[in-house]
Symmetry: D2
Subunit: 134 residues, 4 copies
């Protein structure tokens, strides 16, 4: 039955495959951006993974002293800063996936399918088990 949940997600995703992916489009822009500046020499997967971790921490920074409720109600200034960091994380993520020749969207689809099998609704609904175990 868990298999079937996974299958359902796989089918949904198959149905939305598109001729020209927007992530592929951004990937190509980022490739051109780096190439024009001769920055590929800095963009080893090791370095990009570091840069991604740094940006993810910068995204965490505005939230570190907020309560959970406050984090749901950011000021406009806070939100603008956060938006900027969200973009940085996404950009490095696309660059890193590109350098590793990974189809990022396909990796996400595979992971959702696998999560659907790992956390079946009937066992995990309303349960904090996944969260209390981590």
């Amino acid at each position: 039955m868990h298999q079937r949940q996974g299958t359902r997600y796989a089918q949904v995703f198959a149905a939305v495959s598109m001729p020209m992916s927007e992530l592929i489009k951004v990937r190509d822009e980022l490739r051109a951006f780096a190439a024009e500046r001769d920055w590929d020499q800095f963009h080893s997967p090791k370095n990009l993974a570091s840069a991604l971790a740094v940006e993810a921490a910068e995204l965490l920074e505005p939230f570190q002293w907020l309560t959970e409720d406050q984090s749901r109600n950011l000021t406009e200034k806070q939100l603008a800063a956060v938006k900027n960091e969200l973009a940085d994380v996404q950009i490095y993520l696309i660059r890193l996936a590109d350098k590793l020749d990974v189809d990022l969207l396909q990796a996400v689809r595979d992971k959702i399918v696998s999560n659907a099998e790992k956390y079946p609704v009937n066992e995990f609904k309303g349960s904090a088990r996944k969260y209390s175990e981590t």
Copy 2:
């Protein structure tokens, strides 16, 4: 002139806007996934930002002792692990953007336009200045 570079990117992106975004599609799947399991109670922006930083570090982990060259030539086993972590980062990024009501792809486009203005090719081509300053 930098303005013009930014403008060029803005136009390119405008040209590829699509009726149904693949990221929106994944966002909706992730919404349903969390809702079915009643997990939204855990998904405050503060918590999601933490989870994202944790996953970004897990993505960094396989690279931490590798040389840059080794990071360009992962074994299949290493790559499979990395692919899994790339997906986790992307998933939490989409969830966090969703909870903050941020259009992730638009934020990326805005950032690329702004980067194009900040790092004009003629000044930064072949220069490590950006990188040596950080």
Copy 3:
């Protein structure tokens, strides 16, 4: 007046300097540990800084879905895991400082003195200003 606060801390610290520092002792043990295993080849500052960030994220992981109150009341199992990660962060921090020839304890003292000048009690007492600005 802020100067005086800083000075007070500087004096307190000077008073507790000891002939044989415990952190120096641990540093020497870690040096011997790496040397015996020929691991210094992996311990470039760049790699150690990555390892430290990875361990700091592993330390964050058990807290990511907890409420602040829950984080103040860990189970014994949670605490044991956290203790382990606290140690890992401290170990890599000592190793990194050693490789950079930095006196970690002196750096801490300098930072506390500088923080005392930056956040004078009369301006920051009971105020979340520092925290709401980040």
Copy 4:
């Protein structure tokens, strides 16, 4: 035999226990610093763990685009920045351990003993096994 290595470390550490620890001294200064400013309300273990991860990433940032060799030869300006971040990580680490009532130095000693048993010299000397497996 691995046991004996662990035991050796345990004995070495026992021999250097001191009546007044320098880390305890710093811990007490940090306690007073927070209390004077009424900042304990922000310093839940969850928040401190986030702050620590953020600072660890700030420590990684100056290294992210450097080669390993460059990371061994920082400029004075780079080193000053790094020293500052090393201190921040150490400060939050001491605060977090304090809030969790963990003896940080003892946790480090326990971990070194356990690492000595886990990575016996005769099996790991000159081998990158630990590192290639991660």
